[in-house]
């Protein structure tokens, strides 16, 4: 017979991480059982890729092939941002279900359900990046650097996504229905991802917009990803993007945790 240890009165960070990982495992199992929950992170990147490359490629870059090269790193950033919307929706759905009360009645870290949901989203990030990269490769995209730098780009993108998730979690705790999460966050994600140099160079924009685009974390991350995949400077932009990610998480992790505590009582 197995026995369970005597009541603990304090949950350390190690145990909290273990609880978070166990719940991330649950999120992954759910994705495996409901592959259609991945439609948003598989269909949308394909549509964006085909649409932008073939519709605007010639006009913006002179040729679709050349545009594909500069667009893909930026589209990876944009789709990571869109994939992070799912966390808030999933948590909002979850919280109204009985299973959440069970977790809360157990001696696990308060933050574990949130951390689990966010970590579980790594699957969505990997899927969306894989789909984008595969389709782009078929269309003719080629990494100009080496596998090491490609890996750094992927890790940087996922780290950014994990930080951005906390915005989605925060909104997910504030709105009533899951559908309200994308509705609300589109007002944040659109200026963030389109108001960047993902699709067009910032030189063609009016001064005020250029000012925003130049400080936008998506611009920095896109520059870093282009440097890592196509060659060129990337360290400075990567550092800025990373700093932004830390600031975003630093603001929204506590906000999300507080909204969560308030929401669940």
């Amino acid at each position: 017979m197995t026995t369970i240890t005597a009541p603990t009165t304090h949950i350390g960070p190690g145990a909290a991480l273990r609880h978070g990982l166990a719940l991330a495992g649950r999120a992954v199992t759910k994705v495996r059982k409901n592959p259609e929950s991945l439609l948003d992170v598989t269909l949308q990147p394909i549509i964006f890729l085909l649409l932008f490359v073939y519709l605007f490629g010639g006009a913006i870059q002179g040729s679709t092939d050349a545009y594909l090269q500069v667009l893909l790193p930026g589209l990876m950033v944009q789709n990571i941002a869109f994939a992070s919307l799912g966390t808030g929706m999933a948590l909002n759905t979850d919280i109204s279900k009985g299973v959440f009360d069970r977790f809360r009645s157990m001696p696990i870290a308060r933050s574990a359900p949130l951390v689990g949901a966010v970590l579980g989203d790594i699957v969505r990030f990997v899927v969306t990046l894989t789909v984008l990269f595969t389709v782009a490769t078929i269309m003719g995209f080629r990494v100009q650097t080496d596998p090491g730098r490609f890996l750094i780009a992927v890790l940087l993108l996922i780290a950014f996504g994990l930080c951005l998730c906390w915005v989605s979690v925060w909104v997910g705790m504030l709105v009533k229905s899951p559908q309200a999460v994308p509705g609300t966050l589109v007002a944040f994600i659109f200026p963030l991802t389109f108001g960047s140099n993902v699709f067009v160079p910032s030189q063609s924009m009016p001064g005020w917009l250029q000012a925003w685009v130049d400080i936008n974390p998506v611009t920095h991350l896109t520059n870093a990803a282009r440097g890592l995949l196509l060659g060129g400077d990337w360290v400075g932009d990567a550092a800025w993007a990373f700093l932004w990610a830390v600031v975003i998480a630093g603001i929204f992790f506590p906000l999300a945790l507080r909204a969560y505590r308030k929401r669940v009582g």
Partner: protein
């Protein structure tokens, strides 16, 4: 006597609604407390406070000697919770649910699997263990819920309306499980709208209405305390039921409970001499009765007297009271 659950003066408000209005509870270790009350009485709120899911605005509560507000982690370590709100993940299978809970409780993956298999076997869910819970019947789901709350071998178990909506067979299974747990020394607090359930399982009963405890004691004490006795009348002619009801209402000031299936009316009475008055009145009205007598009241009568409302006596058919 040591108490596994103690609470004093619990108050919980939701806006202007007072869900708990000074609730006191005490459950000796190893006993079953039935918390009885109509829907909206505050039963679930009380359970949520005791299970650390809600913080009371006033008062205190201890579970297993730990303060639910100040030592909530310790409380969570010794309780199990099952009910309307605490359930399992529908997308996962029975095994996956129980293994996840075992892992969250600090078991190794192998140990969690062993424990899951053990509980699934105990609840006769082995055949369905690898299917998604959403394919389970109501009874199977409830058994899974119960199994999930037992993974950590709780010392104190909270069951919030464990049999609401279950058919009689599944209900009997849940009852048998509860009895088995009590034999193992587990303290149980169960809420129910069903008087029969409280009568069957509980050593002690607390009746809550409008957030207040309106009666507490053993089932026997409550039956004795409430009006002492109950009068049963079965008119020979079923059509006479309304007339008999009118007479009883006039004499006792209460609406009698009418069991239309058996054609029996019953009402709590505090004065045994009322029997002769009733006989005379029926005689005057020309009504004959096949059955007429006094007996110790059922919990239904207790409930009626205490709350002014009839309780729900048939769990299977009246799954959800308004």
């Amino acid at each position: 006597m040591s108490y596994a659950i103690e609470a004093e003066g619990l108050v919980k408000r939701f806006g202007s609604t007072v869900a708990l209005d000074g609730v006191n509870l005490a459950v000796p270790t190893g006993k079953v407390l039935g918390v009885l009350g109509p829907n909206g009485a505050g039963k679930t709120t009380a359970v949520r406070v005791l299970a650390t899911l809600l913080r009371a605005d006033e008062g205190w509560a201890r579970v297993g000697g730990y303060d639910v507000a100040k030592q909530s982690t310790a409380v969570r370590g010794i309780i199990g919770l099952t009910g309307q709100y605490a359930s399992v993940d529908e997308d996962l299978s029975g095994t996956e649910n129980l293994v996840l809970i075992g892992k969250l409780l600090g078991l190794s993956k192998a140990a969690a699997k062993v424990r899951a298999a053990e509980l699934l076997a105990k609840f006769e869910l082995t055949d369905a263990a690898s299917r998604s819970v959403k394919t389970y019947s109501g009874g199977m789901r409830r058994r899974t819920d119960l199994a999930a709350s037992l993974v950590g071998r709780p010392q104190v178990l909270f069951l919030d309306e464990p049999t609401t909506g279950l058919d009689p067979h599944s209900r009997n299974e849940v009852w048998a499980t509860v009895r088995g747990l009590v034999d193992d020394g587990v303290t149980v607090l169960l809420t129910t709208q069903y008087l029969e359930e409280a009568d069957q399982l509980a050593d002690l009963i607390t009746v809550i209405d409008h957030g207040k405890v309106i009666a507490a004691g053993t089932p026997h004490e409550l039956k004795r305390r409430t009006g002492g006795q109950s009068m049963q009348i079965r008119p020979t002619v079923v059509a006479d039921i309304p007339a008999v009801a009118a007479i009883l209402r006039e004499l006792t000031g209460l609406d009698p409970i009418i069991d239309t299936d058996n054609g029996v009316l019953s009402t709590p009475v505090d004065n045994p001499l009322l029997l002769s008055t009733v006989v005379r009145r029926l005689d005057d009205a020309g009504i004959t009765a096949d059955e007429l007598g006094l007996r110790l009241p059922s919990l239904d009568d207790v409930f009626l007297t205490l709350t002014g409302r009839t309780g729900s006596t048939t769990p299977a058919t009246e799954g959800s009271l308004a």
